[in-house]
């Protein structure tokens, strides 16, 4: 059987999610032995090109060129995977979607001919069908490897998107909100990080986006009861996953 052809692509992003692939130091050589690396610009100057069996795409779509490119990659790929918060829900740069940045772009770049920035920075799914999402800012290396382990043997990878709260309880952490009124997105954020922040006495800031069944209104009134004001909740949600529908709806309704 021929090896599946892998493409790794970068859009508007920090590079961190594709770096996670290279950060899988112990597994990297074995992993790369099981695929044919068709395109991975950051790691190799050899380019085999399309078609791709698996395309991993990091970053949000924020220029006209990127729209053309994601449409092309979609056409050339069997399975398109959104890699990380920028690709799944806009990333931090999508915060400009609430400013009027797009409108004064020509004023910002009097002589720029290079960037044709779109009015908004958006997740891949606003432009093309996405077959699978790896969440997080950055993605979890463990989930990345589980994704490959499943996909390479023809299985469908599955991850829980239950709230960080559950895992946090299992870790035996005292609740930061209840104990000290510390703002925490744990009740509405998907797990995947390994409860990094609450285990350090720090409120969750939402790297993995909304959990299954996240109820933002109920969450916000519960936080308010613990003396966390609404502007703080708004700022927390205006992070790397602000374009995720559940978060976006609350932000747009509550300012």
């Amino acid at each position: 059987m021929s090896k599946p052809r892998l493409g790794v692509f970068k859009f508007s992003s920090c590079d961190g999610c594709q770096l996670s692939i290279l950060d899988a130091e112990e597994e990297l050589l074995e992993l790369l032995d099981r695929v044919e690396l068709a395109d991975f610009l950051e790691a190799s100057s050899a380019s085999v090109g399309s078609p791709y069996d698996i395309a991993l795409v990091e970053g949000s779509v924020s220029t006209e060129e990127e729209v053309e490119r994601i449409v092309r990659i979609r056409k050339e790929s069997k399975m398109l995977v959104a890699l990380g918060a920028c690709a799944t829900s806009g990333g931090l740069q999508a915060l400009r979607n609430w400013s009027r940045l797009g409108l004064f772009e020509s004023a910002v770049y009097p002589e720029q001919k290079v960037a044709r920035a779109l009015e908004k920075a958006l997740p891949l799914s606003d432009f093309v069908a996405v077959d699978f999402e790896l969440r997080g800012c950055p993605i979890s290396k463990a989930q990345l490897l589980q994704f490959f382990a499943a996909t390479l043997r023809g299985a469908k990878p599955r991850f829980s998107s239950s709230a960080v709260c559950f895992e946090c309880k299992r870790a035996g952490n005292p609740c930061l909100v209840v104990a000290g009124g510390t703002p925490c997105l744990g009740p509405v954020t998907a797990s995947g990080c390994g409860v990094l922040c609450p285990s350090r006495g720090r409120g969750c800031y939402g790297c993995f986006g909304p959990s299954d069944d996240a109820n933002l209104d109920s969450y916000a009134s519960w936080l308010s009861a613990h003396k966390v004001d609404r502007s703080t909740i708004g700022l927390l949600l205006k992070g790397a996953n602000s374009q995720a529908p559940e978060f976006m709806r609350w932000i747009e309704k509550n300012g």
Binding site: D15, A46, V114, L196
Partner: protein, 430 residues
């Protein structure tokens, strides 16, 4: 006008981010050299407007997945300076170890995965692994050590979560931190081989004079803070950075270029640090430098790869020492009160000086942010290096011309994701 394209790399491989290089011969006799950066801008400086000071370190870390610690530390230096917070000495030690981890990871990535394939005339580290699997496995082990240091202190290697204004959310115990020592010691004893390998790589050379700029810290080979110094006798506190260096826009790049005021291009990064702070390098690194015949000042950018290897040795040695001297801080973070004002912070990212400045208002919110990353500062110098190589490039056949040009850029380990995200939003009234 007659124009002949000598080199046009298209999207360049083995750099972080999206850019290309073009060299065009014109009948003016002066070839046009352009590093085109088409990575889309992400407007971070504008996005910071109105955010709370305490959010800044985590927001700016998202500018770069390769050097998030540098972003966190430069912003903390600025904000803690403004708020008058005294950070505990042991916490400062933890931050330095975290930063050494980032240097080790980033330098190992550059040396083995991005740069060495050029010298060995192969497309990537995978091809290198086929020739010499033991070498690549050891390189990955080294890279993993960098990541491990970041995870132990920061929770994860990319966008660590542990730092805050005033200190650290939770400090690891002495035993937890010491758990890195056995592997660290093994690497320290085998690192000689890595330096020997890197210095055995045969490549081009380019002896040229350049303005070199880095930080100087009386206590250490500068990494987490310092004054700005140059080989032209400059010595400045961080707040004078903008008085001495300026940014300008060119029409073919989404990143601003930098120059010294009234002067030309300059270089930041390993070559500058080695040349100016050599005496503070750990003795083990200096001994190895001597062994491979490197001494300051170093004028050849193609030797940057060797300096990065020596800086890995330095970082491993200093980490081992700092880990042994570590005691869990009694007060991991100091309380502070945000106050209004403008502040400045610098640190030595793996690629060179990372400058931040913020204006904070009376409510503790950001009103203005300015960030000058190392790759933006190096851009003009990269183009100057390529210009000096043009005669050699033009007399080479196409594949070799391209290899030579790309190497001249990769010498700087450009991080284009960093460089691009700073186009400022100067709202001009229409």
């Amino acid at each position: 006008m007659a124009r002949r394209v000598v080199v046009d790399t298209g999207p360049m491989a083995r750099v972080e981010g999206e850019g290309s290089l073009s060299i065009v011969e014109t009948d003016t006799g002066r070839p046009e050299v352009k590093l085109n950066i088409f990575e889309p801008p992400r407007f971070f400086e504008a996005l910071l407007n109105g955010r709370r000071a305490e959010e800044v370190p985590d927001i700016v870390s998202r500018i770069c997945g390769i050097c998030p610690v540098a972003y966190q530390i430069s912003s903390l230096n600025a904000l803690e300076g403004l708020f008058g917070v005294e950070v505990d000495e042991q916490v400062r030690r933890l931050r330095r170890i975290l930063y050494y981890g980032e240097w080790i990871e980033s330098h190992a990535l550059h040396i083995f995965m991005l740069a060495a394939p050029d010298f060995m005339r192969v497309p990537d580290a995978i091809a290198m692994a086929k020739r010499d699997p033991a070498l690549v496995r050891e390189a990955l082990t080294l890279k993993r050590m960098g990541n491990r240091l970041m995870s132990v202190i920061g929770g994860r290697e990319i966008h660590p979560v542990s730092l805050k204004i005033g200190g650290i959310y939770r400090a690891p115990s002495k035993e937890t931190l010491a758990s890195v020592l056995p592997e660290l010691d093994r690497l320290r004893s085998s690192v000689q081989k890595m330096v020997a390998f890197v210095s055995s790589l045969e490549g081009p050379s380019l002896e040229r004079d350049s303005t070199l700029v880095c930080l100087y810290d009386a206590a250490h080979y500068a990494i987490d803070r310092g004054e700005i110094v140059s080989n032209q006798g400059l010595r400045l506190p961080p707040h004078d950075f903008e008085e001495n260096f300026e940014e300008y826009q060119v029409d073919y790049s989404n990143a601003l270029h930098s120059r010294t005021k009234g002067g030309g291009s300059y270089m930041v990064g390993p070559l500058a640090r080695f040349s100016l702070n050599y005496n503070q390098l750990n003795p083990a690194a200096r001994a190895l430098a001597k062994g491979v015949g490197l001494k300051p000042p170093l004028k050849d950018p193609f030797k940057s790869i060797v300096v990065r290897a020596l800086e890995i040795v330095h970082a491993l040695e200093e980490t081992a020492r700092e880990v042994k001297e570590y005691e869990k801080p009694v007060r991991p973070s100091a309380p502070y009160k945000a106050r209004a004002g403008t502040c400045y912070g610098v640190s030595e990212a793996p690629r060179g000086i990372l400058y931040h400045s913020y204006t904070i208002n009376g409510r503790g919110h950001v009103e203005r942010a300015k960030i000058v990353p190392p790759t933006a500062q190096n851009q003009a110098r990269m183009e100057d290096d390529v210009r000096l190589l043009v005669p050699r490039i033009m007399s080479s056949e196409a594949t070799e011309a391209r290899r030579l040009s790309e190497m001249a850029i990769r010498n700087y380990d450009p991080c284009i994701s960093c460089a691009t995200h700073f186009l400022r939003l100067d709202l001009r009234k229409a």
